[in-house]
Symmetry: C2
Subunit: 329 residues, 2 copies
DNA sequence: ATGAAAGCGCTAACAC
DNA sequence: GTGTTAGCGCTTTCAT
């Protein structure tokens, strides 16, 4: 079942079949009919590999995420597919499972099979990022800015987000806050942490506790966090906040009466948690769409694309309230 | 940068390069060295499309899920990649976004680009499934059994799962239970519902309320559910249970004191909910692994593969307790 | 407007 | 053990 089969059945050349299948306008209407009929009759479907080889492009892009289990990435992926789909591109998703050392290899593998790659929150060392940028012009970086590396990027203004959150907490009278720190190699985590440190200007006294990016991490980190007797806890992301909330409940700590807690990203679960989690909304779909736009431009040959920075938004819910007046937990 | 480039650089033929790249044993050690060196030097990476065309297979399989935002599918996907990866296969993920009418088209498109397809909880009409089975032998169906359609399948024993859950509820003294029904076209939903109906044998009197598969659906369905004044609510899945829990909280209904609630699947969030959700654990990763195994066999030419049925497991947590003695909500 | 034919980059007979 | 070569299925000049 190839072009030749269809061509024979329709009594035309393979070139004509190809033209019809690709919607070329320079084909006589009756030929179009004949070919269409023959193709439909035979149930013909073009072979993607052959098309890819002949055209020099696959029509597929790939996205590499560190953890597919994090709902955060779904919305990003949705944004990417939606935007890329409109340009006739399909999306291949890969998961590095939070293994920074595997990312470079995976990226090369993906680049081999697809036309371009979107790295979502990559954890790989700076050096690998540099290698990748040297190897290919079809890579864009989401959620990470790498100075002096020629990689189109789109990020969130973590500083602005954290600042508005800190403002919120400061107005509620909080002073001692613990930050549940995300993965070491996460750029977002570093940004959030630094932004929080700068919030000392509002009178917030922040201390970081090593944590991670999963619910289990959040759950496990609470005991250490409470040792600092904070009135508020800021989690690396909503997932962590979620796990933390569970542990606080176990320990009988009332949220937000005794301790306030806030997350980051605004994943769907955040709004349904008990209590609903105050968070900094990340324009995830937009991030996905912009990433594709950047990739499309890179694919079209544009170089030296400027990094884009997207604005987050504070979402106040029920997990934050006025700091308790005095006393320890 | 092609085989020829490398061949020229190494002073050998393209065939030898190909042999080395594919780990053929019938190559002299020094040639292997030369080729390896040249390839590394040039940073050569084989073109996947060309390989696919020449080999007649792409080395990629695809998985179609109805909703990538449902954490349930992550574990399934994890199982698939893990198993397929061991056989040198990569995985392409596609999301039909709960649009049953788009599934057939998407499936064909995926089949065109990859060697095989795993349909995860497909919602498409039976007729489309039949078409697909006729068109290809490289399709396996997870979470759906279609009688008289020659499609390798792996499912969960919903009946067993629902029965153990009903047992649990019956022993706690529940009689009036509401089932929050999932998507109309979901086979799992039908199975769960039927199994629940059969639980009348335990003295459970179940009534179904239309709901859906999202947190918002669960949230929205609670009001109608409470109209039936149930002592227990069984949700289509954990996501729905999660949304339902939020609404119950809003209405001031105490779970589990006034109403018990149970989910299905045991997604990670279930254990961290407030209260932790009693559920029926679905061996998701196993399901993924088995799906791949079936697909691999189909790809190898086996036909008439027997459907596999996996056992679920009741996980009792804090959202279910003894039925309230008397009185309405 | 249509067809013939030359590749796209790689693999796998087949010959040596 | 190594090289030659004929495709894999499609697109795309280039003629006509």
């Amino acid at each position: 079942m190839t072009v030749s089969t269809v061509a024979a059945a329709a009594g035309v050349s393979t070139a004509t079949v190809s033209r019809v299948m690709n919607g070329s306008t320079t084909v006589a209407p009756d030929m179009v009919q004949r070919v269409r009929a023959a193709a439909a009759e035979l149930g013909y479907r073009p072979n993607a590999a052959a098309q890819g080889l002949a055209r020099g492009r696959t029509g597929t892009l790939s996205v590499l995420v560190p953890d597919l289990a994090n709902p955060y990435f779904h919305d990003v992926l949705k944004g990417v597919t939606a935007a890329a789909g409109r340009s006739g591109y399909r999306m291949l998703v890969a998961d590095s499972e939070e293994d920074p050392d595997d990312e470079l290899g995976l990226s090369h593998e993906l680049l081999r099979q697809t036309d371009g790659l979107i790295l979502c929150s990559p954890r790989m060392p700076r050096h690998d990022l540099l290698t990748l940028a040297d190897d290919s012009h079809a890579v864009v970086c989401a959620n990470r800015l790498a100075a002096d590396i020629d990689l189109p990027a789109v990020t969130i203004d973590a500083h602005a987000g954290m600042t508005s959150l800190c403002h919120h907490l400061a107005r509620l009278g909080h002073r001692r806050v613990v930050y549940l720190s995300g993965p070491e190699r996460s750029w977002s985590n570093q940004e959030r942490r630094h932004a929080l440190d700068r919030a000392a200007a509002f009178g917030l006294d922040a201390v970081a506790v090593a944590c991670g990016a999963t619910m289990a991490d959040g759950h496990a980190a609470i005991d250490a966090a409470l040792d600092h007797d904070p009135t508020a806890i800021v989690a690396f992301n909503d997932i962590v906040a979620f796990g933390a909330l569970a542990r606080l409940r176990e320990r009988g700590v009332d949220v937000p009466a005794q301790v306030s807690i806030a997350g980051f990203d605004d994943i769907p679960f955040a709004a349904y948690a008990a209590p609903a989690i105050t968070t900094v909304r990340n324009p995830k779909e937009l991030l996905g769409r912009r990433s594709w736009l950047l990739l499309a431009r890179a694919l079209a040959g544009e170089r030296g694309l400027e990094p884009e920075v997207l604005p987050p938004q504070l979402i106040v819910r029920d997990s934050t309230a006025a700091a308790r007046d005095r006393g320890n937990l």
